[in-house]
Symmetry: C2
Subunit: 202 residues, 2 copies
């Protein structure tokens, strides 16, 4: 799928990040006010309620250090730390097939920085593929609110390019040419399984 | 971010810990000193390293209320609560098939209380099965250190029996008769995929 990219936008060379602050959030999502995670949760709920697939986001991994059991009924975690995820965030089943993916956003308008992924997440997706699971990533360009699905095999080759001294990001043109654009829908909002079905992976 | 709590550690009148305290651990697991979770993590690591399957335990779901970003590099979670899991704890892929299970232990010697499971975990396993995934539970009797795999279809009928006014547990005899005993091994410790393979589900 190839799309011509209307580059009439103002050039932005500012740092990218996946962790969004409130201000960015308001600017980025405007009237929608939804994050990629919200959209995917809604989509997965739609898939579940309509008998299409059972796909859930995994909880954020936390290292718990101190728990207070003093209160009568509730345990309160008093000290804990975020841990790095050892797998991808989303997985589940569709038509008996194992589905596994990671979803990331970037503020960059021109490329997707590979530092959004961790080495072990790539390794995990490689393992999934070697066990005949279906692995991919969903990438969102926040500024233009464009969403793409990139198959794991393509992600692996961009990762490999970086590992062998090449660029540390995937250019937007590369994503447009090898990825699959997902147009926003009402229900589900981000119909990524349609792409997977179209690719005859399901 | 504000601190709502004085540093509890200074005024601790009760020992705090995550889930299990040391004393319980020593009493419960005797010479082995391993929990079912430890054994399954080791087993899953064995499966992963030996190219047999990619199965991971999901992180514990936590509701984060307050995070302290004051420290230079690390965010400290200062207030959080345990949430009830909406799915099972373990899932992954083996030979392209989706694998999904829950693992539970009981101190009872004669039966396995169904309150170890939540309604939505049963519902989740029903969904998995309806999408042609493989779902089961691994049950451990702590006192005798016996481990059984019970297929989801059997669990569903015991659950159904409870829902229609029957007993709130599965008797040990029932587990022996419908379940599949898993003998401890050295590597992997709990070879549950062997049972699944034997059942021709893989």
């Amino acid at each position: 799928m190839e799309f011509h990219y209307p580059n009439g936008r103002k050039y932005m060379s500012q740092p990218t990040s996946t962790k969004r602050n409130e201000k960015e959030k308001i600017i980025s999502y405007g009237k929608r006010g939804m994050t990629l995670e919200d959209d995917l949760n809604e989509t997965n709920l739609y898939y579940l309620s309509n008998g299409i697939a059972v796909i859930h986001k995994k909880p954020t991994p936390i290292q718990i250090v101190q728990v207070d059991y003093q209160s009568r009924s509730t345990a309160v975690i008093k000290e804990a730390y975020f841990r790095q995820a050892s797998t991808t965030d989303y997985n589940g089943v569709c038509q008996g097939k194992y589905i596994d993916f990671e979803a990331k956003e970037t503020q960059s308008a021109t490329s997707f920085p590979l530092r959004n992924f961790h080495e072990h997440q790539i390794k995990h997706m490689e393992n999934v593929v070697s066990h005949k699971g279906i692995a991919f990533v969903i990438l969102r360009f926040v500024k233009t609110d464009e969403v793409f699905l990139v198959e794991s095999k393509d992600l692996f080759s961009f990762w490999e390019r970086m590992e062998t001294g090449g660029r540390k990001s995937i250019t937007k043109d590369e994503i447009i040419s090898c990825g699959h654009r997902i147009e926003y829908g009402l229900h589900p909002r981000i119909d990524y399984l349609k792409v997977i079905q179209h690719l005859l992976l399901l």
